[in-house]
Amino acid sequence: MRFVAKQPKEGINVSDTHPLVEASTLVVGLTAIFVVIVLAIIFMIEVALFFVSAEDEANLFGDWLPEDLITVAPDDDRLVEIQLLVDRLARHWPDSPYTFRVEIDDSETANAMALPGGLIIVTRGLLDRVESENELAFVLGHELGHFKNRDHLRALGRGIVLAMFFAVVTDSDVAGIGIKATDITIRGFSRRQETNADEFGLAVVNSEYGHVDEAWRLFERWEVENDSVINLVTYLSTHPESGDRIIDMKRQAEAEGWLLTGDVTPLNW
């Protein structure tokens, strides 16, 4: 046999597809798949909610306290006052199946959460920042609105199912795309939930005090204070922007003919 020297052939082991075409196909395709999965999960949770009545939920989670989720602030005197305020506000929702319980989370960030079984968590950071009872009443009323609309179960359900879903996707870059797709998909839903909870909270505040003065002053202060971009970006991800919320609430109050000014109740501490 004769030896004939040859140059290596090009293009046998390397695909023709341009890397950018490959990249965009994968990114767009996978984002679409993630969006479809997330929408399916949201739908399945709506179906599941249909089968769990609020009474069942109240029985099941009646004395549940997720200790790995919150750090209960020890001996905070304000707890009694808040519990009394919640009880007063809850009277404006007479057919509520829940017995509301309040706990203070020992955290600097200002936040409030609605958890299954009528558990309302407020952070120490929030309590340090509210300046009148009316401000606090609106935040608590907003959380009552989440219970009324059963958003707390949706949030929990989505959290659990999505966490399970992303436990399967271990590659961090892929999970990154998935989380962003999920974020975008859920954002529309969660913003609508927040707006609905705002409406309920404002109605509760109006019934309790006879006016809505200072209901959204916390947000107004926030808007001025919050020049830190990073804070704002994380906050934006689930809640509508505070500016929009204030506009919506003013509009609601005007439409309902609620008084925009009135006697503001000072805090009891």
Partner: protein, 166 residues
Amino acid sequence: MDGNLETLELFLNFGFPLLILMIAYFIGSHIEKRHFRDIRERETKVHGFPVVSFNTMPDDWNVSSSDMVTGSIVISLDYFKRVIAGLRGLIGGRIKTYEPLLERARREALLRMTEEARLQGYDAIFNVRLETSRLANARRDGKGVAGVEMLAFGTAVKFASRFANS
């Protein structure tokens, strides 16, 4: 102002990772093109040097000396290739972004081996083999991939007389 914040947030969420990905792509593909150009030039230079994979020496080779020659290259993925391969890993199929990388590694390893043999005055190489090994990334518990090594080795021989045609 609200619109600006939305834009900023969108940029932080999507634009920034995309920007890094694009920078990685342009730098990576520039290096890749340059490497392929270099490989082709050097392949032209060693053109005609017999490199064969027979595991026994052809009968008509009359050799005076022999030695083992090796050529090795350690090559790493760029960020772009790794991200795209990660996406591909979810649904399966050809990892197209890795193919040129490994092609570069194979040809470079063979070239280095051939160049070494020529430098030492050998005339041909037989029993050429290729081996790969994965180099783990020590930073992430050895789980990540730092790169791959491609090793080409073979037996280089010096002909006693010039290649005789049979």
